[in-house]
């Protein structure tokens, strides 16, 4: 029961990031829109990692691979968060 529920949760995340992400609205989000509208965004500096392989959820700058970038992001987040939380958890044998 537990395993099946967790597996579903993971599959839903992978499908959202790997496939549904192609249908995301590419317009600037609320914060970017406001900073652009009021000239605040002119002060933005380029991201120091802008040239990295997965920058802007593409692979090597090619956003046909947004889904792949998304899947890698889900896996990386799951590994980092899951690892941290597993280490932090109260061990059942401690009680």
């Amino acid at each position: 029961m537990n395993k099946r529920f967790f597996a579903w949760f993971a599959v839903v995340s992978l499908v959202l990031a790997g496939a549904v992400s192609y249908f995301a609205d590419s317009d600037p989000d609320g914060l970017d829109h406001v900073t652009e509208q009021h000239g605040i965004a002119e002060h933005a500096r380029e991201h120091p990692l802008a040239g990295s392989p997965l920058a802007d959820y593409a692979v090597g700058g090619d956003d046909r691979f947004t889904g792949l970038a998304g899947v890698l992001g889900v896996v990386a987040t799951l590994a980092l968060a899951g690892g941290l939380f597993w280490l932090l958890r109260k061990r059942s044998d401690v009680r």
């Binding site: 579903w8 609320g30 009021h38 933005a44 992001g73």
Partner: protein, 229 residues
């Protein structure tokens, strides 16, 4: 997703002292969350918490239209707090923001402190406090839980965006008046908050239908109550 502008605050929008101030705020806040999270994590909840972080990452990629030429996306604080508690929830959103900034060049590196403060600390805290204030309604039935998730997520989005307004007032570049920034940011984030509310309500209700025992906000509630339509 091909837009060159990152989804979160970029580097350079705040001056250096203000960026540093919010790095300090974020370090303290995340430190407290790390210390407190331990009490909420065990063999049952730790895997869920990892999955919640991954889910928030995935949904943050899904910008939805809110106005012509303007999109919005989930922040996830209320969603994470309702499912795994405020401390673990704040860590989930923090990890998402760190992965986005360092792997996907989304959200500035010097702005990470401010972005964590807004989305992981403020968003999660106010989303959780709203949900707790309405807990009676949430434990009544599925509709009540959905309504509470919706309202908590809306409050989370609006107040997280107000974090940016405050940071901009303290040390923003470009000298735009407080009232102008506040009105523009809050106006659009009420609309984004409605989308955030819908996604949060659907997700929380889905998890509560499958595993009410895992939902942090419903701890201590007899499961049969939750199975009513």
């Amino acid at each position: 997703m091909s837009d060159p502008v990152a989804m979160h605050m970029s580097d350079g929008l705040l001056d250096a002292p203000t960026s540093l101030l919010f790095v300090a705020v974020a370090v303290v806040g995340v430190g407290v969350a790390l210390a407190k999270a331990r009490g909420d994590l065990d063999d049952r909840t730790a895997p869920l918490a990892g999955l919640v972080a991954a889910f928030v990452f995935a949904t943050q990629m899904l910008n939805f239209p809110v106005l012509p030429g303007v999109s919005g996306h989930l922040l996830g604080g209320a969603l994470a707090a309702i499912l795994v508690g405020p401390w673990v929830g704040a860590l989930c959103v923090t990890i998402v923001l760190v992965v986005q900034s360092l792997f996907f060049a989304d959200g500035g590196v010097t702005a990470l402190g401010a972005n964590i403060t807004n989305m992981a600390l403020i968003g999660t805290a106010v989303g959780y406090l709203t949900a707790v204030a309405l807990r009676k309604l949430a434990t009544r039935n599925k509709g009540g839980l959905a309504a509470v998730a919706f309202v908590s997520a809306l409050v989370n989005t609006v107040l997280a965006s107000f974090g940016f307004v405050l940071e901009y007032a303290i040390g923003g570049q470009g000298g735009v008046a407080f009232g102008t920034v506040a009105a523009a940011v809050l106006g659009v984030h009420v609309l984004i908050g409605i989308g955030e509310g819908v996604i949060t309500a659907v997700t929380v209700t889905a998890v509560a239908s499958a595993r009410p025992d895992l939902v942090y906000l419903l701890r201590g509630v007899p499961q049969k109550l939750e199975l009513k339509a």
